[in-house]
C-alpha cells in the first residue's frame, strides 16, 4: 500500500502513520521535515476550536491565514470575523410561483463564495418538476435540465440549498463539533477543525453539504478577496462546505448574492425577529411551507407560492 499523506494548510506532506508513531513515542518532531517545522506550522497544527479561542487568539489565526492565502493567491485577502448581530435571526423565502429556473443564483453563489470550479461544487441546486405530478418526490426531480430557454411551459423550478435548520441533524452528527449553529441561526463550519469524515453529509436530509474530494480550484483573478472565517474563505482538500446565507455579506447588512442576482426577485431575505421584514410578511400572508417538515429539522428557509394556485 502506498503511504497516505494528507495535505495541510501549509502544504507540508506529512506521513500520518509515521507522525502518529512518533507521537506515541513522545517524539512528534521526528516525523517532520525539520526545515519546515517552523512556528507557523505548529500554530496551524495546534490551532484551537474556533469557539474556544479568545479575541487575541482569533486575531492571530486570522493574520496567519491571510498571510497563507496571500502567498497562495498572490493578492490581498481579507478574512473577516463579524459576530452575529444581537436580535437577528436570519430567514429566507423563495417564491416558487416566480422562479424561472435560470440558475443565475447558482453561479452568483459560486463566485461570491469561492466554490471550486473544477472539480465543480455548487451550493445551490435548482430542481425541475413537471406541473401536476407528485412533486415533492425529490429523488425524481431533474437537475440537469438544459433547454434553450426557461421557463418551459408545463414545468416549475425549486432551488434547494442549506435550509439553516433550527434543529440541524448535521451538527448533531459531527464527531468533532467542527460545525455548529450560530446565534443568528446560520449553521457554520470551521474548515480547520473539519476532519472530512462526511457524517454531516449523511445526516443532512437536503443534500446541502459538499465535500472537497480534490484541492479546490479557484482561479486567482476570480477569487473573491472579501471573506469571513466561517464562510467563503479558501477551503482545503478533504473538508466539507455549505451555504452560510453569505455570512460575509449578511452580517454587514447586505443581501446574499443569490438575492441580488435573481432576475425575477423570487428570493427574499431578512430578520425573522423583525415584524416589518419581508420574510415575516411572507410567513404571515402567504401559505409557506418548509421542505421535509416531517423530519423536525425546522428549516429557516420558507417556500411559498405568492400568486396562483
Amino acid at each position: 500500500m502506498s503511504k497516505r499523506t494528507r495535505s495541510n494548510p501549509l502544504g507540508i506532506k506529512l506521513d500520518r502513520r509515521a507522525f502518529l508513531k512518533g507521537a506515541a513515542l513522545g517524539l512528534a518532531g521526528t516525523a517532520l521535515p525539520l526545515n519546515k517545522a517552523d512556528a507557523s506550522f505548529w500554530e496551524a497544527f495546534f490551532q484551537k476550536h474556533f469557539r474556544e479561542m479568545n479575541e487575541t487568539e482569533i486575531k492571530k489565526v486570522i493574520e496567519r491565514l491571510e498571510k497563507e492565502y496571500g502567498q497562495k493567491y498572490k493578492k490581498e485577502i481579507e478574512v473577516g470575523n463579524e459576530k452575529a448581530i444581537p436580535g437577528v435571526l436570519f430567514g429566507y423565502g423563495l417564491d416558487l410561483s416566480r422562479c424561472i429556473g435560470c440558475r443565475r443564483c447558482v453561479y452568483a453563489c459560486v463566485k461570491e463564495n469561492n466554490q471550486s470550479r473544477d472539480p465543480q461544487i455548487h451550493w445551490i441546486s435548482v430542481l425541475r418538476f413537471k406541473k401536476g405530478e407528485k412533486w415533492i418526490d425529490l429523488e425524481n426531480s431533474e437537475r440537469y435540465y438544459n433547454p434553450a430557454q426557461v421557463p418551459e411551459p408545463g414545468y416549475f423550478y425549486m432551488p434547494v440549498q442549506c435550509q439553516q435548520c433550527e434543529n440541524p441533524p448535521c451538527v448533531r452528527a459531527c464527531p468533532t463539533q467542527a460545525t455548529w449553529k450560530e446565534p443568528d441561526g446560520i449553521v457554520v463550519i470551521d474548515y480547520n477543525w473539519c476532519i472530512g469524515c462526511r457524517y454531516c453529509m449523511a445526516a443532512c436530509p437536503y443534500g446541502a453539504r459538499h465535500f472537497n474530494w480534490a484541492e479546490p480550484n479557484v482561479p486567482q483573478e476570480e477569487l473573491n478577496p472579501e471573506t469571513h472565517y466561517l464562510g467563503n474563505r479558501p477551503r482545503y482538500r478533504g473538508t466539507v462546505e455549505k451555504c452560510t446565507f453569505c455570512i460575509q455579506r449578511t452580517r454587514n447588512g447586505k443581501y446574499p448574492a443569490c438575492v441580488e442576482i435573481c432576475p425575477v426577485g423570487a428570493r427574499k431575505f431578512g430578520n425573522l425577529l423583525d415584524p416589518n421584514s419581508e420574510i415575516r410578511y411572507a410567513i404571515e400572508h402567504k401559505r409557506v411551507f418548509r421542505l421535509k417538515e416531517d423530519l423536525n429539522t425546522y428549516p429557516k428557509f420558507y417556500y411559498f407560492f405568492a400568486y396562483g394556485l
Binding site: G101, R103, V150
Partner: protein, 172 residues
C-alpha cells in the same frame, strides 16, 4: 321589535357606510407605505423623454389604430382593447393619468399599475413582490414595476438558463 333608537342607528349606519367608502376611495394614496429607496430612474428608451418634445404640437388622436410612424415596436398585449390614454395623459404627455383623473409622474408609475393589481401592489410595498437589493436592514433598493415588466406586454420574456451542473458520472 326594535326600538326606534336602534332603527335610527341602523339607518344612519346604512347611509354612512357607502359614503365612507366613497371617502376612502377618493383619499390620496397613502404615502407613508410607499418605499423610499429606488434604484434607477424609469427605464425610458433613449431620447424619448420628455414626451412633450414631439407631442406638444401634435393633435390628440384618440382612435385605436396600429401605430405606423412612431412607437412601432409597441403592440398592446396588456389589457386587450385598451389604448394609450388609459395610462398616458393626452393633454400633457409628460405625465401619466390615473382612472380617477389624477396625474402622476413616471417616477410614480406604480400607482398606475396598482389600480388593477392591488394585491401585487400591496406585496410590492412591503417588499415581497419584486426585486430587493442593497441592505436587508437599511437602505433597501426597490425597482419600479416597469423595470421588470414592459408595460405594453408585461409578461416576463424567457431567457437562456446557465449551464447545468456536471453529472457525477462525467467527473474525471
Amino acid at each position: 321589535m326594535l326600538g326606534s333608537r336602534y332603527k335610527k342607528f341602523i339607518y344612519s349606519a346604512a347611509l354612512i357606510a357607502p359614503l365612507s367608502f366613497l371617502l376612502f376611495s377618493y383619499a390620496e394614496p397613502a404615502e407613508r407605505d410607499i418605499p423610499k429607496f429606488f434604484v434607477p430612474p424609469p427605464p425610458f428608451s433613449e431620447g424619448i423623454f420628455p414626451c412633450s418634445q414631439c407631442h406638444k404640437y401634435m393633435p390628440v388622436n384618440r382612435k385605436q389604430r396600429k401605430l405606423e410612424q412612431f412607437h412601432t415596436d409597441i403592440v398592446l398585449k396588456h389589457m386587450p382593447g385598451g389604448w394609450c390614454f388609459d395610462c398616458h395623459n393626452p393633454d400633457d404627455r409628460d405625465k401619466l393619468r390615473l382612472a380617477n383623473g389624477k396625474l402622476v409622474s413616471f417616477e410614480e408609475s406604480y400607482y398606475i399599475c396598482g389600480q388593477c393589481h392591488g394585491v401585487v401592489f400591496r406585496d410590492w410595498k412591503t417588499g415581497l413582490h419584486g426585486k430587493r437589493t442593497g441592505m436587508w436592514d437599511g437602505k433597501k433598493q426597490y425597482l419600479l414595476c416597469v423595470h421588470c415588466h414592459w408595460p405594453h406586454e408585461p409578461r416576463f420574456k424567457p431567457i437562456q438558463p446557465l449551464p447545468p451542473p456536471v453529472k457525477p458520472t462525467d467527473i474525471k
